[in-house]
């Protein structure tokens, strides 16, 4: 499975409060959450982002609260996957459990710029800059997590396990 889209670049410590501010947590409707995704950092983000686009960030993406509204808002905004130098623990877990593909790559995080067109392969974690051809390799998920992702998230995984 391949994701192709434009890079939206963010910095260090993008926390769950800016991904989806708590004032909107009286709803868990994905469409509504998507409208406010990252708005405290970039008011136009929800309008700008096109289906398939990719968030690239630096260290500790998703730090802060356990709100699953964060990966939900990102997915519902149309983002296909997130690449970061590193992810905060609960966000990492939530992304796997809800089926938002995430990739850890320090090199990609450093090299990729806002507006770059890139391609990411889920199975191999290979990230490619379409224009320059530059390639980066993301850390692969342990087998157990790949099972959860390939079955579409934790709930399906639990269901299939019986």
């Amino acid at each position: 499975m391949k994701f192709t889209g434009k890079v939206h670049k963010f910095g260090n410590n993008i926390d769950t409060d800016v991904i989806i501010p708590a004032r909107y947590l009286n709803s868990s409707d994905p469409a509504e959450l998507a409208l406010h995704c990252l708005e405290d950092l970039d008011k136009e983000f929800a309008q700008k982002v096109k289906p398939g686009d990719i968030i690239v960030a630096e260290k500790n993406f998703g730090c802060g609260s356990s709100r699953e509204h964060a990966p939900i808002a990102i997915m519902a905004a149309g983002v296909s996957c997130v690449i970061a130098h590193s992810f905060a623990r609960i966000f990492y877990r939530n992304s796997i459990n809800t089926g938002l593909p995430i990739f850890e790559s320090a090199a990609a995080s450093e090299a990729l710029k806002n507006g770059d067109e890139i391609e990411v392969e889920l199975e191999t974690g290979l990230i490619k800059n379409i224009k320059t051809g530059a390639q980066y390799k993301a850390t692969a998920f342990p087998g157990f997590m790949q099972d959860i992702i390939s079955q579409g998230g934790l709930i399906n995984y639990v269901k299939n396990r019986g």
Binding site: D17, V18, L25, G64, S65, R89, I90, N97, V158
Partner: protein, 422 residues
């Protein structure tokens, strides 16, 4: 090779005798927690499993605390989802408005969590219960939904960082400052995926309330859990509260740590974390003079009796500064009642503070004290991210209750020793 206390608790919840850092394991859980923000999503995930029962009616704890008493129609709907679920599945530990408190103050108080427990909560500050010698960690709603069905969760066994605190604890320094020092040193991701073990003679002299504040903020260093081994103080606290058997674990002398960091607390000063990260700490004496519009004393970090006691001792007989609002939120109904009996509530109201029913309210910018554009708050809470308490241009400074109360009198950030007559 020995195991850390965190490894031991995890191992005790599998069928293995030994677990190694980095290993992926499936564990049985003692407690599964959710609140009015995270439980509705967990409930809808749970329903997808099409089961007619939860794994255990006693082990699931549901606490509406973020937006209750409900701030609007949507939050009322979220609480109703929770209430309906509680009725349908016969959940025993549900705390309605009037009995509820902020979850992380409430669960220990009610004896629902104890030493050796493995606890997951769909709330990042679930790590608070590590103060009781439990392994407690925050997860998301899907984990919670699956765990309500299976009573299990997957974990990657964490490496540990050991923090040793020694020396005499200076006046005005509390557990909050112990953890702010650590966060300031290692940064917001310094303990990412790791366990933070707090030990040393200064910890053994720390009250239970201060230990809860300390473990509460492990997540602000990216930690998976924060933990303090059981001692007399812990046993005193759980006596009469915890009604079920528990297990006490200690780290082996030959347990392996990724890092060991030592602090002489005698050299510590209360800290203030500047916007917009908890790691931006400065000693309060170097923070003095920042003008503030609002002071918040409360939250799962510092809404316990000890916190209210110290605030009351500073506010007693004084008036808060005329150009600032002070909001005080006792953590639970029991704390509220005890504060009332001890006369703290009267002191607060006479000083010109608002005292609220227990709620998360302003801590996460929910309601009950939202900041306008450019306003500054000094809060005893745990996060000061952009927009955390209101408008994205507002600012939050974090501190302990003594600093908050002293600053409330002066209208600007102030060391407590400047406001209290010796």
């Amino acid at each position: 090779m020995g195991m850390t206390i965190s490894q031991k608790i995890l191992a005790a919840h599998t069928d293995k005798d030994f677990v190694e850092a980095g290993e992926l394991i499936n564990c049985k859980l003692d407690v599964v927690l959710g609140n009015d923000i995270t439980a509705p999503i967990a409930i809808s995930e749970f329903h997808k499993l099409e089961l007619n029962k939860v794994f255990d009616k006693e082990s699931i704890v549901l606490v509406p605390d973020h937006f209750v008493p409900n701030k609007d129609i949507k939050s009322a709907e979220q609480c109703k989802t929770m209430r309906d679920f509680v009725k349908q599945y016969g959940i025993k530990n549900y705390f309605e408005v009037g009995q509820m408190g902020i979850e992380h103050c409430l669960l220990p108080e009610q004896g629902l969590v104890g030493p050796g427990d493995l606890i997951i909560g769909a709330d990042s500050h679930t790590c608070t219960y590590g103060a009781l010698g439990a392994f407690a960690t925050g997860v998301g709603s899907t984990d919670m939904g699956a765990a309500m069905a299976t009573g299990e969760a997957w974990f990657k066994v964490p490496e540990s960082i050991k923090f040793i605190y020694y020396g005499k604890i200076p006046q005005w320094v509390s557990g909050k400052d112990f953890i702010l020092h650590a966060i300031g040193d290692i940064g917001g991701d310094g303990a990412r995926y790791m366990s933070m073990e707090f030990t040393g003679e200064a910890i053994s002299r720390l009250s239970m309330d201060s230990r809860f504040s300390l473990c509460n903020m492990a997540i602000e260093a990216g930690g998976k859990n924060g933990i303090i081994a059981v001692d007399e103080v812990t046993l005193d606290y759980i006596k009469g509260r915890l009604k079920r058997p528990y297990q006490i674990h200690y780290s082996d002398p030959d347990a392996v740590y990724a890092q060991t960091i030592e602090y002489n607390v005698a050299e510590m000063e209360p800290l203030v974390a500047f916007p917009h990260l908890p790691e931006n700490t400065r000693p309060v004496s170097q923070a003095a003079g920042v003008l503030i519009d609002q002071v918040v004393i409360g939250s799962c970090t510092n809404g316990r009796l000890e916190d209210l006691a110290i605030a009351a001792s500073i506010l007693k007989g004084n008036k808060v500064h005329s150009e600032l609002r002070v909001i005080i939120l006792p953590g639970t109904q029991a704390i509220y009642l005890e504060a009332l009996r001890r006369g703290y509530i009267e002191i607060f109201i006479e000083a010109g503070a608002v005292v609220s029913t227990p709620t998360c309210g302003p801590c996460l910018g929910g309601y009950m004290g939202i900041l306008a554009k450019g306003e500054k708050a000094l809060a005893t809470t745990n996060r000061n991210f952009v927009g955390r308490m209101g408008d994205p241009t507002s600012e939050v400074y974090l501190c302990n209750p003594a600093v908050a109360a002293a600053s409330a009198l002066k209208g600007q950030i102030t060391p407590p020793w400047e406001m209290v007559l010796k």
